[in-house]
Symmetry: C2
């Protein structure tokens, strides 16, 4: 996706959120925001994706704030709370007549654990309070049937994760995918470096993904979604040679919608109008949308 005009105030709102997480020094916060404005002006190019521009902005903000991971505590809290919900989610999935589809929906609901953007929840504890409501909304756009068809005959799939917390539910989805087709191999992808609230290798290992998936790769870099110009060789090969890419969350859409990798199924909640409009979906809905 290209950067939209509405992304600019939103991106700066996210930088403000990061600044507030890191410091009480108002002059440093202002310096960081003005630094973010500067890099936005310098790096703006209508050919770049919103993810590429956001990467530059966050990199500058982290540097000015003197932090490598402003969201560290929030990420830990997200995982902790998602793990509290795990027995409930497992029971919902195991008692469902459509286990695979239900596990997809649960993994999408995990995607509400996103901080610092409009339309997301500011406190991880709301996940527990609101899970039922989001679950009852179901899927407002549902390509799960086509995704299941692809999974039935698949040998290799790539699963690109998004946020911490959410990744706890992604593990159940990976287990259900394996249960649905025990011959297929899953390559899990996490971020190469801490960025926003996204999961890294540390989270994947800690949550025992090595017991469920066949391989864990990283995006290799500090990037919103992934840096499509700097994809590590092994990941590049995996993205080129598979039967389906499953992408969680908006950032991965922002980055991968600019590539030719196909088929890709995006599993997300449309939390902003820029992405909702770009995907031709309503705002604030749970969606599985396949691009093939």
């Amino acid at each position: 996706m290209k950067l939209k005009s509405e992304c600019i105030p939103c991106l700066l709102g996210r930088v403000l959120y990061e600044a507030n997480l890191v410091t009480n020094d108002e002059s440093l916060r202002i310096k960081t925001l003005l630094g973010a404005c500067k890099i936005l002006i310098e790096s703006y190019d209508s050919n770049l994706s919103s993810a590429e521009i956001a990467t530059k902005v966050h990199k500058t903000a982290y540097k000015l704030l003197g932090t490598k991971d402003p969201y560290k505590k929030l990420k830990e809290e997200s995982n902790r709370l998602a793990l509290q919900l795990l027995p409930k989610i497992k029971s919902i999935v195991e008692n469902s007549e459509e286990r695979l589809k239900t596990s997809m929906l649960c993994a999408i609901i995990g995607n509400i654990l996103d901080f610092g953007i409009k339309g997301s929840e500011s406190d991880p504890s709301v996940l527990i309070e609101k899970f039922d409501r989001y679950f009852s909304e179901g899927l407002k756009y549902d390509d799960s049937g086509m995704v299941e068809t692809l999974l039935r005959d698949a040998e290799d799939i790539v699963f690109v994760t998004d946020n911490c917390g959410e990744i706890v539910f992604d593990k159940i989805l990976c287990q259900e995918i394996k249960r649905f087709n025990n011959r297929l191999k899953i390559t899990l992808v996490v971020r190469g470096e801490p960025i926003l609230t996204d999961a890294t290798m540390e989270d994947a290992i800690q949550l025992g993904f090595d017991e469920v998936v066949d391989r864990i790769l990283t995006t290799g870099t500090f990037a919103v979604g992934l840096d499509i110009k700097e994809i590590p060789a092994a990941l590049k090969k995996a993205l080129e040679d598979n039967d389906l890419i499953i992408c969680k969350g908006m950032a991965n859409y922002e980055a991968l919608s600019e590539t030719d990798y196909k088929p890709i199924a995006y599993l997300l909640r449309t939390k902003c109008t820029a992405i909702a409009n770009d995907m031709n979906l309503p705002l604030n809905v749970n969606a599985i949308k396949l691009y093939d």
Copy 2:
């Protein structure tokens, strides 16, 4: 008030709003937002008020968008809808045992009826419903007693207006002030040029303020609130030589809190944390706060 870090994304959000009012050309919208970022970087100075910086940002945005008054239609709609509410407000004030204080509260509520900003509020019935809710909240900070004391003996007061729509209710307040003390003279102040949704001389004349107040002056310039470095001579004299300045809304606080003009009574709803914190008031409350 000095510019706060949180003002930066907010200000750019307002520029986006202006861009959306004026054009569907996404590249022009992005150009305008980046131009706003640029002037923000260039003009930022910790000695300037948030109003002064916002003035520069909006001036640049208007220029890039090729408009002199992006809010024109919204302002007309605001006045039209406020006039529909007028009989109700008049009746509330006339039946009140504290007419002056009640008219102050109504004028403050005018400050929150951001007509047209949200689509649903263009429905007068929604406005009436919303008015009742805000009215029942009353004043969460109430210096009206001290303001009345000042008004009782006043000979000259200055009344600095804010938004269109709201100004319809300000007229009732001016009438009640005159009823309270028929010897005092009111100098009404409107904006020198169209800026945001603020009232100008055209609005004041159209709404018949000349029948109520003794004099109408303008801020003389294109400015959020007023440009304290470019105050016209007559207004400067009025601000220096009076018994009370009544200021409606947040923009006037942003500009005038940087000056030594006293006493000033701010009549507003705290619609953002930056101003609420600066005034040491809760967020989203109706307040009359006197600085003397």
